[in-house]
Symmetry: D2
Subunit: 151 residues, 4 copies
Amino acid sequence: VTEAWPGLSGRFRNGAHVLPVRVYYEDTDAGGVVYHARYLAFCERGRSDCLRLLGISQSELGDLAFVVRRLACDFLKPARLDDLLEIETRFGDLAGARLELDQQALLGGMPVFRARVTIALIDRQGRPKRLPQEMTARFQASMESGFVTKL
Amino acid sequence: VTEAWPGLSGRFRNGAHVLPVRVYYEDTDAGGVVYHARYLAFCERGRSDCLRLLGISQSELGDLAFVVRRLACDFLKPARLDDLLEIETRFGDLAGARLELDQQALLGGMPVFRARVTIALIDRQGRPKRLPQEMTARFQASMESGFVTKL
Amino acid sequence: VTEAWPGLSGRFRNGAHVLPVRVYYEDTDAGGVVYHARYLAFCERGRSDCLRLLGISQSELGDLAFVVRRLACDFLKPARLDDLLEIETRFGDLAGARLELDQQALLGGMPVFRARVTIALIDRQGRPKRLPQEMTARFQASMESGFVTKL
Amino acid sequence: VTEAWPGLSGRFRNGAHVLPVRVYYEDTDAGGVVYHARYLAFCERGRSDCLRLLGISQSELGDLAFVVRRLACDFLKPARLDDLLEIETRFGDLAGARLELDQQALLGGMPVFRARVTIALIDRQGRPKRLPQEMTARFQASMESGFVTKL
């Protein structure tokens, strides 16, 4: 099924992962704009699909899971029903137990939302874990290939 | 902490469970009204809190879980930001693996949403399970006490 | 930007509109499966994008809006994180103020959710309105062209 | 109806507004914990109800609306299904067009989420507006009465 929908998980562009996100009714509020917390979900989609394209499936991480530890974000401009956003994700160093990312939502090429996100890999007991070597290797490879540019 | 917030899980009234639900921005859409899928979440809150008041905690069901199997609902009137809804839940027979409920959202005492919901108890493999005897007993007791009236 | 992401709004296939929907963390619940109310949002995305491909933009309807009046649905099987669903939408007659649709969510070609949805076109005061002639004409054209098959 | 549910909009305690928030299935994800973006919605409920208790109804602000401009938050510990959270809201100075707040989610009295939020009052065109004098007066009065303590 996946092959029938190319681009569904976004693509790499200029060293960043880019995911298109359409604004539907579910994303808006009575103010007529995108509800602020939806941008966090959009960014999570971007991170998930970036990992997917790098060959890392979150549902196959077993007892490990990525969680958001810290978030600093700016809401720059409103987006509205039917708008087509692009979520840009740029990764920092993936070696340790923590990972910094820069993400933004673009509307017509202009940023409307910007976030600095810190995620961690944890086990079922919530203890921080280092990235498995295989995962680190895939990140290295994708950086060397130029798909991903380090922050 | 629970004792500090009486009424948080609603209460029984005229044989039905009633839960108050405030409409916040997150529940509305660009049409200025409550987004239709939110009523399903409101009803799920009602079911959860009704079970809670009957002494059944879903997070303590172990390998068992209640799932929605079937749903038929009518959206009668719109509700809006700041509205205070009451979710009314009436249970049918709880003996087998399936359970029918009637739920409605009231605004100022008038129904704005109505649903007939069929839920089932399943195990981790998705197989239907009969209700544990202890649970059935609690339902019986609450019906005999008049808290809950059978549909 | 739209041209950069072909297929983002789905496509017509065998007389139905088909929209791919990836399951992200936001769509799942502690039961490890897609939260039941999310299927309603997925179906609303399907309807919106079907209209979009027919040239009808909901944000340009002015004082008119489509609302869900009635819904009957079956939850057949669970879907999980990372699953790729396809939302299939089939329209009935679009002439009057009400419109019946059949929608389903497919996983690997098998239905996991099925809904019969009744929507209505209303004005700001909530009064039912007949579809504008231009809209009806577009539906007719798409049906004659075979893109859309009447239920 | 409101009188029937005392405490529904929380209350003031030690100079802060406190709102109880129950964790339902809709708030959790496949990781078994509260989905991170839900805390933002919980905090928005806290702000709305704090304003409500101060006599400020957002649906009566006319052409004005509060929007989130900036957010910095820490996710300290996970919360789970059935947990009862308390959302604490503390206001800074409300005189200008911007307002700083400190919010946190407490579980059993311990913080699990903490946020510094900057909100602004804007008109329909998105232009920042100063708080209406009447609103400022209410804030002053509540601070003098000791209900609200300035950050």
